[in-house]
């Protein structure tokens, strides 16, 4: 069945709600409206307003009360309407959600999922195109994952709900309407904390996640036409990081490139570069290169296609890498 990522997420959430009465959805406009992206479309009607909760307009309240619900045995899935509106919840996320298991010596389990549509490329106004992944990936106690296609969206949202750790679930909003085959639950999905090699290659390893994965694949296609064999890795999990998969690849290819939308400095690529140069020092034939957003606020939408890293900048970087 070929469905959009939105529909895949919707199906995954429906399944999660049906499978476990402790699963709740909560967020702004997720009920009647079905969320501004319709990810929760129809779910309030199906499961009632006690399980699919239209909350007041306060993100600290959403995450803080999700923590309380989890303390009472629930498994809340929060929706933050847009990436740029997660910041009011950061105090609850960093100081409480991420730490309570550790503080309590493992007595407290907070299976809270925070879904956040993230990234740019859809022509939105400001605060609607942010890439806040590093704020969360740097915070011990959180898992941070992102999907790049409908099948992963369906599998990973369910795995996130099943997971006993707090999970920041980043949804690449510019691929919400991309369709793809989604097989039903009889399959055994890859664990959501493992990266996946989407395309094998021998000349260089191109690492991407979420919004940049399709561009990475496109770039690899274009490179192939010029006779360059690029391996593409979809990280999927940003924290924990599946370094084994990355190392195994870079060890073979000797070259690594990382692409993401977030700003360069202290972006996700920094950690990858730091790891790779340390672990594969003797095997690198070129420095790890980063293809990223710039160190500026996200631009107005008329400039975003210019500002965002894309296929061409990846190919440019690939040339650069191969020139070493």
């Amino acid at each position: 069945m070929s469905i959009s990522m939105v529909k895949a997420l919707n199906n995954g959430l429906r399944k999660a709600l049906a499978d476990d009465p402790k699963v709740l959805l909560m967020g702004e406009d997720i009920g009647r409206l079905g969320g501004v992206f319709r990810v929760t479309d129809g779910l309030q009607k199906e499961f009632g307003s006690l399980r699919v909760i239209d909350t007041p307009l306060g993100e600290a309240g959403i995450v803080g009360s999700a923590i309380g619900l989890a303390l009472r045995g629930y498994r809340p899935v929060c929706e933050i309407q847009f990436d740029g509106f997660v910041y009011p919840a950061v105090n609850q996320i960093i100081s409480q959600l991420a730490k309570l298991r550790h503080r309590s010596g493992g007595v407290i389990t907070l299976p809270v999922v925070i879904r956040i549509p993230f990234g740019g490329g859809i022509g939105s106004i400001e605060h609607h195109s942010e890439s806040p992944e590093v704020y969360f990936a740097h915070t011990a106690g959180l898992k941070v994952v992102t999907c790049s296609n409908p099948q992963d969206a369906y599998d990973m949202i369910r795995q996130a709900v099943d997971d006993d750790d707090p999970v920041i679930f980043l949804e690449p909003k510019r691929h919400y309407w991309t369709k793809g085959e989604v097989t039903d639950e009889t399959s055994t999905p890859t664990p959501f904390d493992r990266a996946r090699v989407l395309r094998a290659g021998t000349d260089a390893t191109l690492i991407a996640y979420g919004p940049m994965v399709p561009a990475a694949l496109e770039a690899a296609d274009a490179a192939a036409e010029e006779g360059r064999s690029v391996e593409v890795i979809d990280l999927r999990s940003l924290s924990p990081l599946d370094l084994d998969t990355v190392r195994e690849s870079v060890h073979r290819t000797g070259r690594a490139l990382v692409a993401h939308e977030a700003s360069l400095s202290h972006g996700f690529g920094a950690e990858l570069a730091a790891r790779i140069q340390q672990e594969e020092f003797h095997f690198l034939e070129a420095p790890v290169l980063r293809i990223t957003g710039y160190d500026t606020p996200y631009p107005p939408s008329r400039l975003e296609s210019d500002w965002l890293p894309g296929v061409d900048r990846i190919l440019d970087a690939l040339d650069h890498s191969l020139s070493y």
Partner: protein, 389 residues
């Protein structure tokens, strides 16, 4: 055009509910809780409401034509915005949300400048110091704290309670009913209260925060919130421009004179969907919208103006007044259309500029690299850069 003044006709006054002077049928009645403002130019008020509505309609059309990415319509809220704006002194500072096109208009902003943000050609659009009208704020509630800080600055500048009308200054900050739920808004309330700041919080309760009815946020009326923090809250008919003007004027006057903050609830209605991207039919019945359409803020003032004897002693307003408004509306619409299309697409370098007062070396390097990339052969294939959707 004669300067028409509001003068109440005799009649019963509502015992409670929001303060109202002008009924949906255009009858002007006193309300014991608030004095009808003495000097009001009703004709100007109506004209501005009509022009603001046209501005809104035109922006929606531009969005439909693909010229704007999004537009948050103010339809139904013209009286609240124009009424509040008419209470401002020149030196007062305004902090808007993203929907105060009517206030912007009354503040004298070129309405074209409102379009840039929604066209995606800028993140700002105007100089907030020029007309003392802050930039639109999309993060719900954030601007309420800026208003508080600005008010703290006014106190320190000694332009509060000095007794000099031309100097004393207040802050008028707008917020929606949904914004009442953000922690930051409540912090703003309590800072303003504890420090007795010259800040007037003007909440347009348009009954909806996207798809959430007010009942999701609160089980008591908006104005009651203020009492909890120890300052006055007042509820007015937000579709009655006179009530909005009178309440805001009273609150701003008190604020300027050192009397502290006020929370005004303007009970009104968002006639259109949340923005052009929203589909309100998914969550609210059309009957509700119809009911509110009958309380239209422009219509009631038009009825009042055209009723014989409706305005002062001069009798009903004639056709040439409305014809003049229509002419101005046309001009405005043309100005918007032409202005919108003429809005400059910013240079790629502008993404980098003004991130800091002086561009740091690393950012200069990034800009140079980016410029070089754009100028390179890759540009030829550059159609697909970025938005790989």
């Amino acid at each position: 055009m004669p300067r028409k003044q509001a003068k109440p006709t005799a009649g019963a006054e509502p015992a409670d509910g929001p303060i109202q002077f002008l009924s949906p049928d255009g009858l002007l009645e006193p309300d014991s809780r608030l004095e009808l403002p003495p000097a009001v130019d009703l004709l100007a008020l109506y004209r501005d409401m009509a022009l603001v509505r046209r501005l809104d309609t035109e922006a929606i059309a531009l969005q439909r034509q693909g010229e704007l990415g999004l537009w948050p319509s103010l339809r139904g809220q013209e009286a609240a915005q124009v009424g509040a704006a008419y209470a401002l002194a020149e030196q007062d500072m305004v902090f808007p949300t993203y929907r105060e096109h009517g206030v912007a208009w009354c503040r004298g902003l070129d309405p074209v400048s409102l379009l840039g943000l929604f066209r995606g050609s800028t993140l700002g659009g105007w100089n907030p110091y020029e007309r003392r009208f802050g930039l639109y704020t999309l993060v719900i509630g954030a601007q309420t704290l800026h208003a508080v800080g600005y008010g703290m600055g006014l106190v320190r500048d000694d332009v509060v309670g000095s007794g000099d009308d031309t100097r004393d200054t207040a802050v008028l900050v707008f917020l929606g009913d949904g914004a009442l739920s953000e922690g930051e808004t409540n912090e703003a309330f309590l800072w303003a209260a504890a420090q007795n700041l010259p800040v007037v919080f003007f909440c347009q309760n348009n009954q909806w925060a996207i798809s959430a009815p007010y009942s999701v946020q609160s089980r008591v009326p908006v104005a009651q919130r203020a009492a909890g923090f120890g300052f006055p809250g007042v509820s007015v008919d937000g579709n009655d421009v006179l009530a909005c003007l009178a309440a805001t004027r009273e609150a701003l006057t008190r604020a300027r004179s050192g009397g502290g903050p006020t929370l005004i609830e303007a009970v009104t209605y968002r006639i259109n969907a949340h923005t052009t991207a929203d589909d309100a039919t998914r969550y609210r019945p059309s009957a509700e919208t119809d009911e509110w359409a009958a309380k239209d803020p422009l219509e009631r003032l038009r009825l009042h103006l055209t009723a014989s004897g409706g305005v002062g002693d001069t009798g009903g307003v004639g056709e040439e007044y409305f014809a003049d408004i229509e002419r101005r509306e046309q001009e405005l619409a043309e100005h918007l259309r032409a202005g919108c299309r003429a809005l400059p697409v910013p240079d790629h370098a502008s993404s980098f500029e003004n991130t800091y007062a002086d561009m740091p070396a690393e950012l200069k390097r990034q800009l140079a690299e980016h410029s070089e990339f754009l100028a390179s052969g890759f540009l030829a294939a550059g159609q697909e850069i970025g938005a790989t959707r």
